[in-house]
């Protein structure tokens, strides 16, 4: 096994186990912290795939902003942060079967794709993927339209949030 494979296996184990802990732990703050661990594992995966920019953006947005907001909201909601009710309802059997079927179906479809078994091509030395990404986001024959649409959506959300916050004051 190469070091990359060892890191991948360790980090896959981290992601799966912390994702399981997110839904099984009864303490809400612990669930949020396990979510942070799972998201960090995904960032390591991006790093392994030579996508350093995506890895860092994953950390900045999902750990630095969203997870911190989650924990804040959880801490401010209830005094007793333990969930006492049952963790599953009577549909858990059907849910498990559906999940297994989805996993099996995806695995079956992906196994017939030729990229599944071949090794990835090495990125040629001296490629600045960050520069390429930046240029693709603003060039008219690439992704400028989706990029601008997304920014208008975010701007609208921002204006809406400001409006709601200021209207409730009166």
């Amino acid at each position: 096994m190469t070091p990359d494979q060892i890191i991948f296996l360790l980090c896959a184990a981290l992601i799966v186990s912390s994702a399981l802990m997110v839904v099984t732990t009864r303490n809400l703050v612990h669930a949020a912290l396990w979510l942070v661990a799972a998201l960090f594992g995904v960032a390591i995966l991006f790093g392994l795939l030579q996508a350093g920019f995506l890895a860092l953006v994953q950390v900045v947005i999902y750990i630095g902003a969203i997870a911190v907001l989650f924990i804040f909201a959880v801490m401010l909601t209830r005094r007793e942060m333990r969930d006492k009710g049952p963790q599953v309802n009577q549909n858990w059997g059907i849910g498990a079967v559906l999940a297994l079927l989805t996993f099996g179906g995806l695995a079956y479809i992906l196994s017939s794709w030729d990229g599944f078994s071949s090794t990835a091509k090495a990125i040629p030395l001296g490629t600045d993927s960050l520069m390429m990404l930046g240029k693709a986001l603003v060039s008219p024959d690439a992704f400028v339209l989706p990029f601008e649409v997304a920014s208008i959506l975010l701007l609208a959300a921002l204006v809406g949030a400001v409006f709601i916050a200021s209207a409730s004051k009166d």
Binding site: G52, F53, L56, V59, V60, I63, A65, V68, I71, M75
Partner: protein, 406 residues
């Protein structure tokens, strides 16, 4: 390649050859050598942290007209070791009702968030951890672990003061992250790269502080806020919430928070040097003359970087020990109504002038005066606003009744 020209790669190459002589193949030999390199870098950062304890205590004493530690060793330089022994032999208390795992993890994460930054600090042209093409963003990403560790410490302590301190700290960190990111984008725009080493190399002829003095000011203010140092030390306001998020920590766990804070301040001093003062280089082209080629020796560069970082650290301490604490609503108003708009305007001005003036010979003068005039406009706007508010205030104030003297 000799030891004097490229010490780290020389030692790494030697270690690799030793491991291959022992019968290891190239793969494991590389992995073990890299691991040793990581440990050495962490040890270097931790040794600096020990020295900083002495520097901090001595400098604060001078600011407060005291002598500071002067009993153990000459000028008290062995004081940190006595401090460490004291911290280690203290009782390790976990408060009742604390969330044990999270409580114990928080100080480790706090220190780790600082040590992780050292992976990209360019100590010299040939002494650095990694040179990634998103180095500037890495600084912000790692800072978010610091935020997380503060929340964990505040929540797990089962203490109201700790929780209030954590809330304040996180409010500061989340707000001041925005001007900080924008301030980091300014050297990125001027240098045309996000790699920290690339930014340093772009300043070999001219420091960026000349091209963007306002950018330096923005970075410094937001860095001090991110550190939670005075005037932004609401998180540990002694007179209000005792010690903030680390109130319940004893012994070496408190020591980890303390060491992390000092090292963080020093690291930000280093980044002030890297982003605006030429980092390890920036000798204005002097090193290209044949008489001064020794300036690009890695050991000289290391010393230059450490001196510049210490000057930055000293400025942060100077601010800390001279400024009173800011009120929390003022802290938020200052960020959202002043610093953030200013940062965005500065970003636009920098991007615009950088593109327009780059081919002309007025580049340096144009960038400098655009910054100065922006600062002048901002001060003028602030003066008008405060004047209007003062007139308003005087009109609404109760009239002063003149008492006739007999």
């Amino acid at each position: 390649m000799t030891f004097w020209n490229d010490p780290i790669n020389f030692i790494a190459g030697w270690l690799r050859s030793v491991f291959t002589d022992w019968g290891l193949t190239d793969g494991p030999a590389n992995v073990i050598t890299s691991l040793i390199g990581i440990v050495v870098m962490i040890l270097f950062a931790m040794l600096i942290a020990i020295a900083l304890v002495w520097v901090e205590r001595k400098v604060v004493a001078r600011f407060q007209d005291r002598l500071g530690p002067n009993r153990i060793g000459p000028f008290g330089i062995f004081q940190p070791f006595a401090d460490i022994v004291k911290l280690i032999i203290k009782e390790d208390i976990t408060p009742a009702g604390a969330d044990k795992a999270v409580f114990n993890m928080a100080p480790v994460m706090s220190l780790a968030s600082v040590i992780l930054i050292w992976a990209i600090v360019p100590l010299a042209s040939k002494i650095y951890g990694v040179d990634i093409n998103v180095g500037v963003l890495y600084l912000v990403a790692v800072g978010s672990f610091g935020t997380l560790s503060v929340i964990m410490a505040g929540w797990a302590s089962n203490n109201k003061y700790a929780l209030i301190g954590a809330f304040r700290m996180v409010a500061t960190m989340i707000s001041y992250e925005i001007p900080m990111v924008v301030a980091l984008l300014i050297p990125t725009i001027i240098a045309g790269t996000m790699s920290v080493k690339g930014i340093t190399e772009a300043q070999s002829n001219l420091w960026f502080v000349v091209l963007s003095p306002l950018g330096l000011l923005l970075f410094m203010i937001s860095a001090i806020a991110e550190l939670g140092r005075s005037p932004f030390d609401l998180n540990e306001a002694e007179s209000e919430i005792v010690a903030g998020f680390h109130i319940e920590y004893t012994g070496m766990k408190f020591g980890l928070f303390y060491a992390g804070e000092l090292l963080h301040a020093f690291t930000f001093g280093g980044f002030m040097a890297v982003l605006f003062f030429g980092g390890y280089g920036g000798f204005f082209g002097l090193e290209k003359l044949s008489a001064f080629t020794w300036l690009s020796n890695p050991f000289i560069e290391l010393v230059v970087f450490l001196v510049k970082a210490l000057i930055g650290y000293w400025i942060i301490m100077w601010v800390k020990y001279s400024m009173p604490r800011i009120r929390i609503d003022h802290m938020l108003t200052f960020n959202w109504k002043f610093l953030t708009p200013l940062a965005f305007v500065l970003l636009m001005v920098t991007a615009l002038f950088d593109k327009i003036l780059a081919p002309t010979q007025f580049y340096v003068l144009g960038m400098f005066f655009s910054n100065i005039s922006l600062a002048w406009i901002v001060i003028e706007i602030l003066r008008r606003i405060s004047k209007r508010e003062r007139i308003e205030h005087e009109r609404n104030a109760e009239p002063v009744i003149q008492v006739a003297h007999p």
